[in-house]
């Protein structure tokens, strides 16, 4: 009887503790961080970017689909039908899965042809899907490879496009943190401004 009473008492303490902590950790804490986040509303809202005319065209952190020769292309995406931000995720295909081998081979051949480079020059990030399916970046190598195609499709000077790629390339923080990358949405946005 004493044991049962003790257990019931501990359960009752548990209920009250959980309620108190839900108020502190489940409401007050996230709301307080939300309030602090208002110092940098753009960032805490999702780093949305707009055209020069002010139209919001997406988030700098969330990749989006670009088809057509006049755009820089992002990586293959396994999120829904491609860059579906409501179903993030990777393919989860194994390194020895025949489906993945075939997909990589096909992408490699298609990109080599479209960008006019040798198949061996196509970088790994161009032919593999990211973990999130929303990777906003591509490698600087892959961006440079697309310059000639984009310039010719737009009928503009490749040097101009190449300059935009250089501007859009982010190096490693302090020279060693993270990897060099090119944000595809920002790069394509900058293309719009030069025509």
């Amino acid at each position: 009887m004493i044991t049962v009473n003790l257990t019931v008492r501990q359960a009752w303490v548990s209920v009250r503790f959980l309620l108190v902590m839900t108020v502190v950790l489940g409401v007050a804490y996230p709301v307080a961080l939300f309030a602090v986040g208002r110092i940098v509303p753009g960032t805490s809202d999702g780093s949305y970017v707009s055209t020069t005319s002010g139209a919001v065209v997406g988030s700098a952190l969330i990749g989006q689909s670009f088809d057509g020769a006049e755009w820089f292309w992002p990586r293959p995406s396994a999120a829904g039908d491609g860059y579906d931000a409501l179903s993030s995720g990777g393919t989860n295909l194994a390194a020895d899965n025949p489906d993945l081998v075939q997909a990589v081979a096909e992408r490699k051949a298609a990109l080599a042809a479209a960008n006019g480079v040798g198949p061996d020059a196509v970088p790994a990030d161009a032919v593999t899907a990211s973990g999130s399916g929303l990777d906003p970046d591509i490698s600087p190598d892959y961006a440079r490879q697309q310059v000639a195609r984009v310039a010719s499709a737009r009928g503009i000077d490749p040097m101009l496009v190449s300059g935009l790629v250089d501007e859009a390339t982010q190096g490693r923080l302090l020279g060693f943190v993270g990897e060099p990358r090119v944000n595809v949405l920002r790069l394509n946005l900058s293309l719009e401004s030069v025509g």
Binding site: I62, Q64, V104
Partner: protein, 553 residues
């Protein structure tokens, strides 16, 4: 600078940062736990919950508090998930199905954070914030509390009292977890992790298509997800999602947060038992295995073996450009050597040996450095096995920190060590023997076995990461993995607290010429050996059929 050299520098910075905070943070945790004074906030909490903060508990009462709190938490979280449609900020998401709710509730209460749902599709903000994130704090605090009870068992003499669970839980939450979470939550927000209540925003893309982008109170959950070695992502893609982990710096910070409490607790241990060298020895065991596996994981991923990755020219499948291959490997090692289970890249698409090393990390029992608290108590159990074996060799009754390791203690230790392998291998066997178990496998060949092996290793060790190709949202897996998580968490806690009670009652035997010094390199080596041999004997057959078979073919 190439990627490998950059990664080496990042790992050095990580180790340096962990080293810098080790002493002050470890000592701070010890002071927080052992201080006789209560703050005003804490006294207020004790009044509300009706607890006498000066009443120390016997091990059986401490255990009863842990069990009662765990069961109440599972029931409350289950109800919250089932009823989320009626809560504010539900974003129109339906209540979660029954078995999936059970699986998720057990998962978050046991510090596992296995997820058979997709966050952005299945959950509203209240369920995430007031349900899952609260358990991210509290389940981590429970782990630390149990570890502290075991430390007190070793430190105290001639007593049956191990401290008060409610006082420990409150202090760990209020003094340790919450302040660190606030500071680093702000750092994450400044770097682009979102923190809003905006719901889903639909925009017209640059090419004229539409894209719906989710929002959410992500930063507040992200930081405790890593700090509490929980691992449950706000979004399906977890820490590979740019809103959870936007750049190389946040990636490094998140890895730091995963490792900081498990490593620093060894200082807390040394401080409370009154011999810092004992804590350094335990740290050396943890760090040597962690560093070795991390180095190997970077190396095999950079080698990108496997036909698809060879053809692609790099192991970038399932990895993000901003992190690159080496820092994805470091994250994978950190998350599986602790009981975190957050991922910044998809382990299912790693090389055979890379995924195998992540799996190997979990089969060591999550002690290198392991989860918040659970890593330390698991490691102390391994240390007791080491002194027992050493005692057998020289024919003396083994002692650890002056406490005799007798028949009762060794029985409890043996039960502890047998629990997770039993759950893992029974679950794996049951899944492979049934049609419904095998139907969930995505990839063909040995890798398919690895997916199921990984799932049960993750659940029974309370890790929570996955070879996510496994379609685990079925009745079979929701139930089987919930059982593995529940027993894999609470049975070891029962044995640890019983052990703590039994140690606390003893006096302290003075060290003699025959006592094995448990702070010397020979003891560190012996304990490393014990961990590798116990895991090796248990899991080599299964590892050979999965990742090794894939890697060698």
């Amino acid at each position: 600078m190439n990627a490998t050299f950059g990664a080496v520098l990042q790992v050095l910075v990580l180790v340096l940062a962990l080293g810098l905070v080790y002493r002050p943070f470890g000592d701070y945790m010890a002071r927080s736990l052992e201080s006789p004074r209560h703050t005003r906030v804490e006294r207020g909490i004790y009044r509300i919950i009706g607890v006498d903060s000066s009443a120390d508990q016997r091990w059986s009462v401490y255990l009863r508090s842990v069990l009662a709190f765990s069961v109440v938490s599972v029931l409350a979280l289950y109800a919250l998930l089932r009823l989320q449609a009626y809560l504010p900020y539900s974003l129109g998401r339906e209540g979660m199905p029954s078995l999936q709710s059970l699986n998720t509730a057990v998962s978050f209460v046991t510090n596992t954070n296995w997820q058979s749902y997709s966050g952005e599709a299945a959950l509203g903000y209240t369920a995430q914030m007031a349900g899952l994130a609260v358990q991210n704090f509290l389940s981590a605090a429970v782990g630390i509390a149990v570890a502290v009870a075991l430390i007190r068992g070793l430190a105290r003499t001639h007593t049956d009292r191990l401290g008060n669970f409610w006082v420990d839980l409150t202090r760990i939450t209020i003094r340790i977890l919450l302040p660190v979470a606030v500071v680093f939550g702000i750092v994450l927000i400044l770097n682009g992790v979102v923190q809003n209540f905006a719901g889903d925003t639909t925009i017209t893309t640059l090419t004229g298509g539409t894209q719906t982008i989710p929002g959410g109170p992500v930063a507040s959950q992200e930081v405790i997800k890593e700090l509490g070695t929980n691992g449950g992502g706000f979004y399906n893609a977890n820490s590979s999602h740019p809103f959870e982990n936007p750049n190389g710096l946040t990636n490094l910070i998140e890895i730091f947060l995963i490792l900081v409490i498990p490593f620093s607790l060894t200082r807390t241990f040394g401080r409370i038992v009154g011999d810092l060298r004992q804590g350094y020895a335990i740290l050396a065991v943890m760090a040597s295995i962690w560093a070795t596996v991390t180095g190997l994981l970077i190396w095999v991923e950079l080698n990108h073996a496997g036909p698809a990755l060879q053809l692609a020219g790099g192991a970038m499948e399932g990895k993000e450009v901003r992190f690159g291959v080496p820092m994805s490997a470091v994250f994978a090692s950190a998350t599986t050597s602790t009981s975190t289970g957050a991922v910044n890249s998809m382990h299912d698409s790693f090389t055979a040996y890379g995924g195998g090393l992540a799996l190997f990390n979990m089969t060591l029992g999550e002690v290198t450095p392991g989860g918040t608290g659970s890593g330390l108590y698991g490691m102390l159990v391994a240390a007791i096995v080491a002194v027992f074996i050493a005692g057998l060799m020289v024919g003396r009754t083994p002692e650890y920190l002056g406490k005799k390791i007798g028949a009762r203690e060794m029985k409890l230790v043996a039960l502890y060590i047998l629990t997770t392998p039993t759950l893992l291998l029974l679950g794996l066997g049951a899944a492979m023997a049934t049609e419904t178990g095998r139907a969930a496998i995505l990839n063909p060949g040995p890798h398919g076995l690895s997916e199921v092996f990984y799932g049960f290793a993750s659940a029974s060790n309370n890790n929570g990461s996955a070879f996510a190709g496994l379609g685990a949202n079925t009745d079979f897996y929701n139930i089987a993995l919930a059982v593995a998580m529940f027993l894999g968490r609470l049975l070891p806690i029962c044995f640890v607290l019983a052990l703590a009670g039994s140690l606390a009652q003893q006096g302290k035997a003075p060290a003699s010429a025959g006592t094995l010094p448990t702070y010397r390199p020979q003891f560190v080596l012996l304990t490393v050996g014990v961990i590798l041999i116990v895991a090796g004997l248990t899991f080599v057959p299964a590892l050979a059929l999965g990742p090794l078979a894939e890697g060698l073919s």
